[in-house]
């Protein structure tokens, strides 16, 4: 569906995307993770041609977005990072005009719009002006907009930013349903949990490069296996001295606590029996640990 080869984008002499190779296959839910400024949105904008690549190759449905963007865009649904809703129009007018743009048959428009608005709990706002919606409502409306054309490929650039937990679950449900019925999905998010539950494959980008790639489980196994114990921040010096010289521990201190990752659960529980230190919480390591490790926010023991 999407194939990028040595794809680069420079803004002046700054390289936002610095030679990435990646492939998104039909039917996948593909995650694109990375810190702020990693180049995720730049990549996404290149897929439908609002950012022109500097070099390399990019194909969407086999088309080059620089020359055949229209063919691509007829089959695409996009949640843009900034909502870009038409502020001069009402909710319903926004959706109607958008249906016209993407060529939804006139007879189907009303039902399609109403169904999706109802699903995202926006039915009661159909005649409201965009300015009068809350931030999360606008976000939901952008999601509705992206689905109006029943796209083959759905691109979601931080779709759940600003959504309350209940609505977030609602949106996840819809994304899952679409994934199950064969829609290909590209998702960027800063919620690692979201990527973990939705994506079957993902890449972590950093400084315009792909830092790691694989299924969430594989990434965790490869880059941050084991368990994480969270200890009281006051015990940090004690913990540091205990693990000094032992490299099976990954150690991160944070204002909220000391994060200690170990290969086995017993390495963590032994802190209680051997040193009288009780972790506030013990959990299996997750994608967030991988993210922090790969994007350079984690401090290693010897650092």
């Amino acid at each position: 569906m999407i194939t990028a080869t040595s794809l680069k984008k420079n803004f002046g002499d700054f390289s936002a995307v610095n030679g990435i190779n990646l492939q998104v296959n039909k039917g996948e839910c593909f995650g694109l993770l990375g810190p702020n400024g990693a180049g995720k949105s730049t990549f996404i904008n290149m897929t439908y041609g609002t950012v022109k690549r500097s070099s390399g190759d990019l194909k969407i449905f086999g088309y080059d977005p620089d020359t055949n963007s229209r063919e691509i865009k007829y089959r695409l649904g996009v949640v843009t990072q900034d909502n870009a809703l038409d502020e001069s129009l009402t909710v319903l007018e926004n959706m109607q005009i958008y249906c016209a743009f993407i060529g939804v048959a006139r007879a189907d428009r009303k039902k399609r719009i109403e169904d999706l608005l109802e699903y995202m709990n926006l039915g009661h706002k159909r005649d409201a002006l965009i300015q009068t919606l809350s931030g999360g409502m606008k976000r939901r409306l952008v999601f509705v907009r992206a689905l109006l054309g029943n796209p083959e490929l759905l691109i979601l650039d931080e779709p759940t930013t600003g959504l309350d937990p209940a609505v977030r679950h609602l949106l996840w449900g819809k994304v899952r349903e679409l994934h199950q019925t064969g829609t290909t999905i590209v998702l960027t998010t800063h919620y690692m949990h979201e990527a973990e539950v939705l994506c079957n494959r993902l890449v972590i980008m950093n400084h315009g490069l792909v830092a790691a790639e694989g299924s969430p489980q594989k990434m965790i196994k490869e880059h941050a296996p084991g368990y994480v114990g969270i200890f009281n921040i006051e015990d940090q010096n004690k913990i540091k001295s205990i693990i000094a010289g032992r490299d099976s521990y990954d150690f991160v201190e944070d204002t909220s606590g000391v994060y200690l990752r170990t290969q086995t659960l017993s390495d963590l529980t032994s802190f209680h029996s051997d040193h009288g230190l009780t972790p506030l919480q013990i959990r299996p390591s997750n994608l967030e640990d991988v993210f922090l490790k790969l994007t350079g926010k984690e401090l290693s023991v010897d650092a």
């Binding site: 041609g49 229209r70 958008y98 743009f101």
Partner: protein
């Protein structure tokens, strides 16, 4: 091609939906302004001028006012209006994720200002005809073509400035150094032949002067055929060149 045109019409339609929400406020200045000029200059100043090219000053002034309306409505729409849509409202950002491309955006906006220019020119002509300033009121509908042909190049100038200014204040500069001279030196207020030769030569390149000639031909029923052949052609050529330029620069703004 047909598909592209359809997409353009959707943009035009979008602007119409927004425009009609505030119809009275949107239309009244376009009618009020020429009426004010007509009263102050035509009746006021006109009482000192008894004969311009064999007619009263009111009669002389009338055709140009329809054209000036087309100038202002198209320029303001495609400068301030378009700039706000592009920069603050991000209207085109979402559009460009749909099959619409920059070409359709520019063409859609041009069709919109063209139609607006046409309707406004006709509207003003009706008012002027009621004052008895049009020798043959049956020609009123033909002023739509004049309004359209003037609005295209002037609208393209507006789009071009939208692409080139760094902020809204700079439209003021464009207005002072481009639009105002266009307005005052295109033979609306006095016969172009009275101006110094260099000014006359420069003015010949202004789109407005050709619009004024067309309107005068229709209002006074003089040389309509020649006017359309000569000035009409020039307006079409100017529209094509300016639209192409506008497209080139707008594309740089919308595509990174």
């Amino acid at each position: 091609m047909l598909n592209s045109l359809k997409l353009c019409m959707h943009i035009t339609h979008r602007n119409w939906i927004v425009y009609k929400k505030d119809l009275i406020a949107n239309i009244s200045p376009t009618v009020a302004d020429p009426a004010l000029v007509l009263v102050s200059l035509g009746l006021g100043l006109g009482s000192f001028i008894t004969n311009v090219e064999g007619m009263t000053y009111m009669q002389f002034l009338a055709p140009g006012l329809t054209v000036a309306t087309a100038l202002f409505t198209s320029f303001f729409e495609s400068s301030y209006g378009f700039y706000v849509r592009m920069t603050f409202e991000n209207v085109y950002k979402a559009m460009l994720t749909t099959p619409i491309g920059v070409k359709e955006v520019v063409m859609g906006e041009m069709i919109w200002v063209g139609l607006k220019g046409a309707v406004m020119a006709v509207g003003v002509a009706i008012v002027l005809a009621l004052f008895g300033l049009m020798s043959n009121p049956w020609l009123i509908p033909t002023l739509a073509s004049v309004g359209f042909l003037v609005a295209l190049p002037c609208g393209a100038l507006g789009l071009l400035s939208s692409a080139l200014v760094n902020n809204m204040n700079q439209f003021q500069t464009v207005y002072s150094f481009l639009i105002a001279p266009l307005y005052f030196l295109s033979g609306i207020f006095f016969p172009i032949s009275q101006m110094a030769t260099p000014v006359r030569i420069v003015a010949e390149f202004f789109p407005l002067i050709h619009g004024v000639r067309l309107a005068q031909a229709l209002f006074w029923q003089r040389g309509i055929g020649e006017a359309f052949l000569y000035s009409g052609t020039i307006l079409v050529v100017q529209s094509i060149i300016l639209c192409a330029l506008a497209y080139h620069f707008i594309k740089k703004k919308l595509i990174n």
